[in-house]
């Protein structure tokens, strides 16, 4: 490692720290891009098997090259800009959707040492980045110069803003018991406890003491991602979404953003509630593989939801967010606070 650093220092001189950071960013984003391409394949296969179908199996062995073919197809299509559309905003909107989804990865730790930027307020940074994602949706709907796209954008934006609040509250309980906004501290906090001492680490993770908040987070996460059963943004068979006017790669960017956000929420769920890179049992070592296994599990849950549940009605979606989750979260924050200062506390 030192040899590499010295070599880089010699080659780039003063610019080396910037180049080194760029290399690290590529090392995160490139596997992420590959991962989200194969997440679409995984999704189609899983839902296929759940529907007693085979799923994609024509391109390459077992259909493994399908995502590559899809990507190439979308790259070659023309991006049509509607008449009288606000052209600049129309082009910027998909970028605004995907950029925060990628930027958020800067603070996600994969193990206790493997992280691009170990900043003090990493959870807050994630909140900031994910809250910007909604602009891609609003602006795409507005810039399209189409009433349908605009109405779809309003609908999706309202949905995302509503569920962001419930998600934020679920995060507040986590950071209350962790006493830190740093992911590494949050995960390390989950490594301690009575069950962890007994070698049953998975019972010490946050999902068990914060079970209601874990469920709220998972469901709000699904809604925030505009995933089924909350996929009112693009309910193809019923309503028109914010991206009707988009085609080709501009359209694909919205989907890349959606899948990047899916992986992000899976990573956040793993870190905050499922113990990140910690091993579930005492006799196995901790490691990055556990992190990936937990992320895959959460991703599988998202796909499972999609294959299982029928789509929600929009008024019920709003009711669930504002009238069920929000009071529940308020209540649970107080409960956790009282629990923490009571003698029964399990967090010291």
């Amino acid at each position: 490692m030192d040899a590499l650093m010295n070599f880089g220092q010699g080659l780039f001189g003063v610019a080396w720290p910037a180049v080194w950071t760029l290399l690290k960013i590529v090392a995160i984003v490139a596997p992420l891009m590959l991962g989200l391409a194969y997440l679409t394949y995984f999704e189609r296969k899983v839902i296929g098997y759940m529907h007693v179908r085979i799923g994609p199996n024509r391109v390459g062995p077992w259909g493994l090259l399908q995502p590559i073919a899809d990507g190439l197809k979308l790259l070659l299509k023309e991006v049509v800009v509607p008449t009288n559309a606000s052209k600049k905003v129309f082009i910027i909107a998909p970028m605004l959707a995907i950029a925060p989804a990628l930027a958020a990865w800067a603070v996600i730790p994969f193990t206790d040492t493997l992280v691009l930027a170990d900043i003090d307020a990493s959870l807050l940074y994630i909140l900031a980045m994910t809250s910007i994602g909604v602009y891609g949706i609003i602006l795409s709907g507005w810039a399209s110069n189409s009433k349908y796209a605009f109405l779809g954008a309003m609908r999706s934006a309202a949905q995302m803003i509503s569920y962001e609040i419930a998600m934020g509250f679920a995060l507040i309980t986590v950071l209350m018991i962790a006493g830190s906004l740093n992911f590494i501290d949050i995960v390390n906090g989950q490594a301690e406890g009575r069950f962890a001492d007994m070698g049953l680490g998975f019972l010490s993770w946050n999902w068990l003491p914060l079970l209601p908040m874990f469920l709220v987070y998972l469901i709000s996460g699904t809604a925030e991602l505009n995933r089924a059963p909350f996929d009112l943004a693009e309910g193809e068979s019923e309503i028109v979404g914010f991206h009707v006017e988009y085609s080709g790669m501009a359209f694909a960017l919205f989907f890349l953003a959606e899948y990047a956000n899916m992986i992000l929420v899976a990573a956040l769920t793993s870190l905050l509630f499922l113990g990140g890179w910690l091993s579930p049992v005492g006799f196995l070592p901790d490691g990055i593989l556990w992190m990936f296994a937990k992320m895959s599990f959460v991703l599988f849950l998202f796909l499972w939801f999609r294959a299982t549940f029928p789509r929600y009605r929009y008024d019920l979606l709003m009711r669930l967010g504002w009238k069920v989750f929000l009071p529940l979260c308020f209540f649970w924050v107080i409960i956790v606070g009282a629990w923490m200062i009571s003698p029964l506390t399990i967090w010291n």
Binding site: D120, A128, V134, I138, M154, A157, S180, L181
Partner: protein, 199 residues
């Protein structure tokens, strides 16, 4: 040139450009977008001053929440640009005077002794989390202003509810899902027994 200075100049240039566009853009949506950019860049500059909590909170609160609502409102508007431009020269002296007063006030505040901390003292030692320090200050020394701000927000929330209140669940036309769920087929559908008609 130091790296930090270069980053500051870069961000400051974007900030000034965005702020200028906010007041010169013809289209209000463009103006709001540039305001968003201005907030975002300000967040970046605050981060450079090691105020990471404030910097990120600025982005969460203003870019993530307030500006979204602003954008909603502005997109719904149908402004008449000619009308907006009327009376520009009439209001210019008053506006310029207000602007001057604001600049003076800012100068006084920034020139006060609270802002004259030497750079060597302003640097935060590593290991001190300014989120934690800020939180501790908010619930100890500044607990009354903090609670007061919370009460003011509550008043705003109650006012918004009162403005849109339609007078209780009976007059509300919002469907109630639990009554919808408890509907049985026999409440809605009547199955009739009829003798077969023969010709």
């Amino acid at each position: 040139m130091e790296f930090q200075t270069a980053v500051f100049l870069f961000l400051a240039a974007i900030l000034i450009y965005a702020a200028l566009r906010v007041i010169t853009a013809r289209n209000p949506v463009t103006a709001v977008l540039h305001l968003m950019l201005a907030f975002f860049t300000t967040g970046g500059i605050w981060l450079m001053m090691q105020a990471e909590f404030l910097g990120i909170a600025l982005i969460v609160v203003y870019v993530g929440a307030v500006m979204v609502l602003f954008l909603f409102v502005v997109m719904m508007l149908d402004p008449n640009f000619d009308q907006l431009r009327q009376g520009f020269w009439r209001y210019l002296p008053l506006g310029a005077m207000l602007g001057l007063v604001m600049v003076l006030e800012m100068g006084l505040v920034l020139g006060s002794k609270y802002f004259q901390v030497p750079l060597s003292e302003a640097v935060v030692e590593p290991g001190i989390s300014n989120t934690r320090e800020l939180g501790a200050l908010l619930v100890t020394d500044y607990v009354f202003p903090f609670e007061l701000a919370a009460v003011i927000l509550l008043v705003g929330m109650v006012a918004a509810v009162v403005l849109t209140f339609r007078g209780g669940p009976k007059r509300s036309r919002v469907p109630n899902p639990s009554t919808q769920l408890y509907v049985k087929a026999k409440d809605r559908v009547r199955v009739l027994q009829m003798p077969v008609e023969k010709d």
